[in-house]
Symmetry: C2
Subunit: 339 residues, 2 copies
Amino acid sequence: MKKKILISDIAKDLGVSVTTVSFILNGKAKEKRISEGLTKRVLAHVQKVGYKPNELAKSLRTGKTKIIGLVIEDISNPFFANIARLIETRAYSKGYRIIYCSTDNQPDKTIELIQLFRDRHVDGYIITPSEGVDDTIQSLINSQLPLVLFDRYIPGLATNYVVSDNVRGAYDATAHLAQQGYRRIALVTLYSSQTQMQDRMNGYMRAIDSYKLQPYVKKVNMGDDEETTVRDFHAFLQDQQPDAIFFATNYLAITGLKALKHYQTPLPGVVSYDDHTLFKLFTPTITAVSQPIEAIADELINVLLNQLDGKIKEVKQIVLPSELIVRESSRGRISSTTS
Amino acid sequence: MKKKILISDIAKDLGVSVTTVSFILNGKAKEKRISEGLTKRVLAHVQKVGYKPNELAKSLRTGKTKIIGLVIEDISNPFFANIARLIETRAYSKGYRIIYCSTDNQPDKTIELIQLFRDRHVDGYIITPSEGVDDTIQSLINSQLPLVLFDRYIPGLATNYVVSDNVRGAYDATAHLAQQGYRRIALVTLYSSQTQMQDRMNGYMRAIDSYKLQPYVKKVNMGDDEETTVRDFHAFLQDQQPDAIFFATNYLAITGLKALKHYQTPLPGVVSYDDHTLFKLFTPTITAVSQPIEAIADELINVLLNQLDGKIKEVKQIVLPSELIVRESSRGRISSTTS
DNA sequence: CTTTTTTGCTAAAACTTTTAATACCTACAC
DNA sequence: GTGTAGGTATTAAAAGTTTTAGCAAAAAAG
């Protein structure tokens, strides 16, 4: 009963050609010198019968889908979820839609997902690359597809990216702990060769050097289940007895806090890379390095849109500053010695 | 240089017709009695040259996109993000992809998004309906499109849905507080006519009746910014002096906890509807009504897939039990009188 | 040796839109 | 009366696949 209306139906109804209708619908009436009277008549009729062009057929013909593929590490991580949310809003206002998938940071899944998006002919790609996807990314670049990486980049690959200043962020966090009087400042990070992790490590080490401290580093296996990590982390605490801990990601911080709570360990100084809505609710509130997520989302969309418009050819590599948000969890040492 | 390979190229290369190649690629070789030798030859060649069918053309012809549209209230809310994640994984394993958007619970945005998905010819819909979208949902049903609602449903509309037992969950939470010795138990909820909110209110009221207590209800405006809500909520505390609070959603709980912290109010008994990873890290840990998100995701995909397979015609309305997870935040009254 | 059935494959239509090329008309100049 | 220009709309091809209907040859049946 609810037969789908085609452009040919419109044309037949009004006794004009399909082409004419198409031109008018695509705003080329002026350019193609179609009379104003006809233009209005067609538009009115389209409105009346509620005709909507078949987007699939349109995409097939034009090669444009108005869809952006978002390949993200994990949508249930608040940092990524919030960025995704902002990207979505901005893309939406420009007439683009988002199709997303989570990679779990697994190379094969990432590669598969990117291939999938290619099959679907998405117009552009926003990607948090996992390790080992260099060739796949390179192939996107070779095919001249609009692309921007974020959160991390691939060294040696001349591609657009937007990241935060991880070295600086980690330096600030560590230096802050040092200034608060902590001496045995540990870094908890992942086994990972990704740039954001390397950079956070570098920033930490630089601060350790500046303040002439000893490094204490605990590396965690991403794939391990939480329980294992909790035990593993606890053993590290016992062994190295740090008086402050800098967690390289928010989920490491959360796991760490769970371990501290579970073993009822007296809380050392704590800073997390990446903020979390609830960190300001903890007792004590948790100091964090906060990435500028609005700015990141803005730049990502900007860079991508510029490519989609065919405007810009040069490679954009954007590094945005992070901000250290000092809360109670990193002020223990001072207050305990001064009060 | 990297000319896209077409099915016609494959056919030409091997000196067979396009039809034959298509049959083989779609697993109809047997059915169409194509010789095994040829089948193998074609498959081998396709493999060799790395031919991939154009999904758009395929979709245009078949009317199937293998995409599921997920219309969700807010992807940055952990409850929804986690469900989205699980749905994504399950859909992926069945060969379906997810395209999602957040509605912010705004009717016009919701309607627009659903229309968008229709334009894109998604194969099925998973939707958290906002208020005032009855007609839009009805029109999906009229068009016989695979559809399942979740988290809430639309009363009087015979459509598939998966929700948790909100009445029971709210009753249990409230009853638990009563059993712990709290007497002035408040409900903090939204101005909302959505079923999940109504049901939680009902559950609360039923428990209030069972235990012969007085109700104390604070309604909050969803659109307000957090600061306003915090002040508003604080005024309610001053005014009504509840000794325990049941928050009807996790973000209300978070806002409420912020208010309590900000005004340094002594913590009353607290229960939140919807759990949160970090609730077990709080001091005190927060009691919560936990929805069975795995089960919800499973059922959603099941119900949708059954429709997509054309198997089932009857309407499925599934209500899953929630679980009360008792933590420290709701045990104050007892322990303070007994210890 | 003819008719029927089976086997193995193909031509052409269908999906819906965009766009390059072109046709037709009118008016005007030469 | 022919050529030219400009305005208005159309024809037909193209995008890349799936699928319907059907054909020729070989095998089986009579």
